[in-house]
Amino acid sequence: MDMQASKKKLGLKERYQVMTRGLDWTPSYQKMEDIYPYVAYEGIKIHDWDKWEDPFRLTMDAYWKYQAEKERKLYAIIDAYAQNNGHLGVTDARYINTVKLFISGISPLEYVAHRGFTHVGRQFPGAGPRVACLMQSLDEIRHAQTQVHSISNYNKYYNGVHDFHHAHDRIWFLSVPKSFFDDAITAGPFEFMVAIGFSFEYVLTNLLFVPFVSGAAYNGDMGTMTFGFSAQSDEARHMTLGLEVIKFILEQDPDNLPIVQRWIDKWTWRGYRVLTLVAMMMDYMLPKRTMSWKEAWEVYFEENGGALFKDLARYGITMPKCAEQIALEKDHLSHQAWSTFYNYGAATNFHTWMPDEDEMAWLTAKYPESFDKHYRPRYEYWREQAAKGNRFYNKTLPMLCQTCQIPLVFTEPGDPTKICYREVDFKDEKYHFCSDHCKAIFEHEPEKYVQAWMPVHQIYQGNCFPEGTDPTVEGFDPLAAVLKYYHLEHGRDNLDFEGSEDQKNFDEWRGMATKNV
């Protein structure tokens, strides 16, 4: 059959229709359930995929054109930043540790998000969401790439950035973000969309991405700041998609509500636990602070999120229950997190330190209810000891939560002096949790979480030493072997910032750039 070429140029809307949904077809000799095998088992009922409202009308060719232009600009700035030794313009070399945290903790998640959206994009029978997921999957791999490219410049000068992906898959605390995303991509397509598309991208993104980007801006890191801004227009699209998914699922069938509510509860908590890393970054790792974690939580979750959940009330969705506990933790989260990293500073791919006098005063001002009472005495003691050459390095491995994989560092809701312990017996095994919420997530799907790759247990099983290591030989040093397995060089990549090679080099190079020597 000859195609009838149209003389008239198509309008944007028609063009979108033809180039996206118009490319779909109804199969005639294959069954729908064979083509889309994952769409029913989660219990979500969709009656009419055509009811999907496309949140942004973008065709593939427009996508390429637009992104290519953005990236040309981005790479021009990154190049200029690198050529002008922009890294020497950051506030203080301690700042670079936030970049190390970002590249090893967050950028690999961009890549997994890419894989996740590719996967679910294949699984949805509706052409509208399939196209949206395809574009988001491309956004995510671009984010991973641009982040790696911008941050690679730091790798030329500073320690700990050299093997971020290897680190992500192995280092004890990086199992927290890693297992979060592994949990999401091993769920069904609808849960993935609620987990990542809605809870992560819509509800929590302002608490993850924005603090890093504005932290970069405040601290003179143009490279990081620029990729942040470049990703911003994608983020707006992702947020719209996340919200559209929730509304679409809920409008399709009333039976979907309890399932979606449970996912929102679960993923808000899972996401919040990952944000522990951001909380300490904001309050401790940025030499020039943007705002405190507590303030960020109040603005971005309590105010903005509150308005969102009010909006969703018409579908029957309520504010996740965990919000109450999070409100109790906001005075403590960042301090408990930084204490943890200070404890285990011999096993991290970035440096740790004690806040100086001014920084302690800032913490007192931002956390009048908690800092002086619960955390200052501990810090002052550590600081005194460090000054005497007795810097605290905790060498004994901690007990972990089976769900979020964070050590049991969180205190009882309402009592910051007592560690919160929770446990469950399942099929002759004991499992431990940091909180009621992590426990409830486990109890709903124990078979999933019994498989967790818990870094501490893996070390004790002997699975975290370089190949060929014999742990039975005289004088075997397990921690040294674990650092080798992590590809971390003891004394360079880890330990206190004070006395580090990063500190020394930065001072020397900045001196060369600003003084006559």
Binding site: Y41, T340, H374, P377, R378, L397, P398, Y421, E429, Y460
Partner: protein, 119 residues
């Protein structure tokens, strides 16, 4: 609840006792001493006497704290899974009823951390 899945969904737990080369895991926390950010995880042979943990292992794990040297072990109060419990120091972990992945805590009355802050 069972995991929603497209087929049978059953997997062996990743941390069963047979994976630990003859050891079992024991978690130990010291109440009111958050200088140590979390309770510790240890692999111990089930035949190890409980007293050996207190004498040979805990000093290495908790000894950095100035309170540690002041502990009177005869006054220490123990909890197992959050409930009061009394260990017998001369008996083994197994004889003390400690199983793989049990969690115990001890409280040391009168010792409440750096400047009484529970740190």
């Amino acid at each position: 609840m069972a995991v929603a899945a497209i087929g049978k969904y059953e997997f062996a737990p990743a941390d069963a006792i047979d994976k630990f080369h003859g050891a079992q895991l024991l978690y130990i926390g010291w109440e009111d001493h958050l200088l140590f950010c979390a309770p510790f995880a240890f692999p111990f042979p089930p035949s190890m006497p409980f007293g050996a943990i207190v004498e040979q292992v805990l000093p290495g794990a908790f000894g950095y704290h100035p309170d540690f040297a002041r502990i009177d072990w005869s006054k220490a109060e123990w909890l197992k899974s959050g409930k009061p419990w009394t260990p017998e120091f001369s008996k083994s972990l197994e004889e003390n009823g400690l199983r793989h992945k049990d969690v115990i805590r001890f409280r040391t009355p009168g010792l409440t951390g750096i400047k009484g802050s529970c740190s």
